[in-house]
């Protein structure tokens, strides 16, 4: 089984993704806080290069879910410098696969448009957006230079798939756990991506006709579960 280091394993994303992956991958969970489900983790501070380098030894792939959203100092330390440490370690140790994550960086610029697949990113200067955007640039630079295949997923919201009818519109640019799990598997398995680095919008609700995931479909073979809009239909009788 591939050995995969999960950074940020106790955060808002990884605990919903790793249970699906652990039967097929040898996962090494790491974070600076305890896992919400009590799973054993290694203490790895992504702002410390020695920490990251040591944790990466012997790994086949790295999944970086770390983030600190809106802090004038720590957002740069975790999101930007942390990504630098991860990619530097991958280069130093010859690790050829990285899965990176970030927020959607398009809604401020494109929310009045429709039929949008993967437009140029428009992060702006908010701490969350700019620090993750810079992290993606760092990933691309290292990937291009060291032949590291890096897949980056961008999303706006995460959540469970609906289980009952809702009265109201569905959330924009939101991906359900099952789709993110599927995307992560594809990212871990794909041999290569054009230019060694590609970022993909991920979402699970499409009926609004606004944001799309055509690039993820074409390059990764991503197939969202679909049909989730059916939970958001108003009664007409």
């Amino acid at each position: 089984m591939k050995k995969v280091l999960v950074l940020g394993a106790s955060g808002n994303i990884a605990p919903y993704v790793t249970p699906d992956l652990e039967k097929d991958y040898d996962l090494y969970l790491s974070d600076i806080v305890p896992h919400p489900d009590g799973k054993p983790i290694s203490t790895v501070d992504v702002t410390s290069y020695p920490d990251v380098l040591e944790a990466c030894r012997g790994m086949d792939a790295l999944m970086n879910f770390t983030v600190l959203r809106d802090d004038p100092v720590v957002s740069f330390d975790v999101s930007t410098k942390g990504a630098y440490h991860v990619m530097k370690a991958a280069a130093e140790l010859g690790i050829k696969k990285v899965v990176h994550t970030g927020p959607q960086l398009v809604r401020n610029a494109y929310d009045h448009e429709f039929g949008i697949s993967d437009p140029p990113l428009a992060p702006g200067v908010g701490y969350y957006g700019i620090t993750k955007y810079l992290s993606m640039e760092i990933c691309e630079i290292f990937s291009r230079t060291y032949d590291i295949q890096t897949v980056c997923f961008l999303f706006n919201g995460l959540g469970a798939k609906p289980t009952e009818a809702a009265q109201g519109d569905f959330p924009p640019f939101t991906v359900v756990w099952e789709d993110l799990q599927r995307a992560c598997r594809l990212a871990l398995e794909i041999e290569s991506v054009p230019g060694n680095f590609q970022s993909f919008n991920l979402l699970s609700y499409f009926a609004q006709g606004k944001y799309q995931v055509e690039k993820a479909k074409q390059m990764l073979g991503f197939t969202p579960m679909g049909g989730l809009e059916d939970y958001f239909r108003r009664t007409t009788d």
Partner: protein, 248 residues
């Protein structure tokens, strides 16, 4: 005009100050003590410190961010890399945030043409080409600083101009060297800052007009880096390294 120039200890900052000091009030900033030219002010402070940055930008009309690091970088490789990364990303963000809050409308940010070293020499590089920076820390962080500055033009009604500089040299000091396609005499580099000093699209509704980037290098025979766009704003390099190209 009141002009702030960061990276005061660098040759570039001092050349810019010398170029602009007549007719302008120059304030130089660095985190290490620097003797500045007569008639210029100096403020010692770290751009990573919001208070220092705020003090530096008060009363300023044009902010010139050279992106040049201080002379007291850590000697340890990793600590140096982390400091350069911090200065280029968070430092630029802190400095520009302070500038925006202080009401500055014109920002100029220095970057580097080395981000195109990934291309072969048999192509003509203009501002239309995608940068391909390497992980070499100075090159990469200059690029990240440029991107950070650019985002301020996207979000604010300010003018931000990026100047991607060639390899800074003094023409008379490289007469024995093999010519370099990216060479740029430091005095010409300073002149480029004068050319964009008055560029002001701060009230444009389109951020793509508030932001502009220019390639700045010497006017050499058969160039790799074309400078036509910079010529359009009045850039006229005086140092062309002709003696090197004309020698047998």
């Amino acid at each position: 005009m009141n002009i702030l120039i960061t990276g005061a200890s660098s040759q570039l900052a001092q050349a810019i100050a010398a170029e602009l000091k007549d007719g302008n009030n120059i304030r130089l900033m660095d985190s290490v003590p620097v003797d500045v030219a007569e008639g210029c002010d100096f403020i010692q402070g770290n751009i990573l410190d919001p208070d220092d940055s705020w003090e530096a930008v008060r009363g300023i009309d044009v902010l010139i961010h050279t992106g040049e690091p201080p002379t007291d970088l850590p000697s340890d490789d990793l600590a140096r890399e982390q400091m350069l990364l911090d200065l280029a990303t968070r430092g630029t963000h802190v400095l520009f945030s302070a500038g925006v809050q202080a009401g500055i409308k014109k920002f100029i940010c220095a970057s580097t043409l080395s981000i195109f070293n990934g291309y072969p020499d048999d192509v003509y590089i203009t501002e239309l080409w995608k940068p391909l920076p390497s992980p070499e820390i100075v090159e990469m962080t200059k690029y990240l600083g440029e991107l950070t500055a650019r985002e301020f033009a996207r979000d604010h009604l300010i003018t931000v101009t990026g100047l991607r500089m060639g390899e800074l040299v003094l023409e008379e000091e490289v007469q024995e060297d093999t010519p370099n396609l990216a060479w740029l005499d430091i005095r010409d580099a300073a002149g480029a800052f004068r050319c964009v000093l008055n560029r002001d699209n701060s009230n444009s509704a389109e951020w793509t007009r508030r932001w502009a980037v220019y390639h700045i290098c010497a006017d050499i025979p058969n160039p790799k880096f074309l400078i036509d766009q910079a010529r359009g704003i009045g850039y006229q390099p005086a140092h062309d390294f002709q003696s090197l190209y004309l020698s047998p």
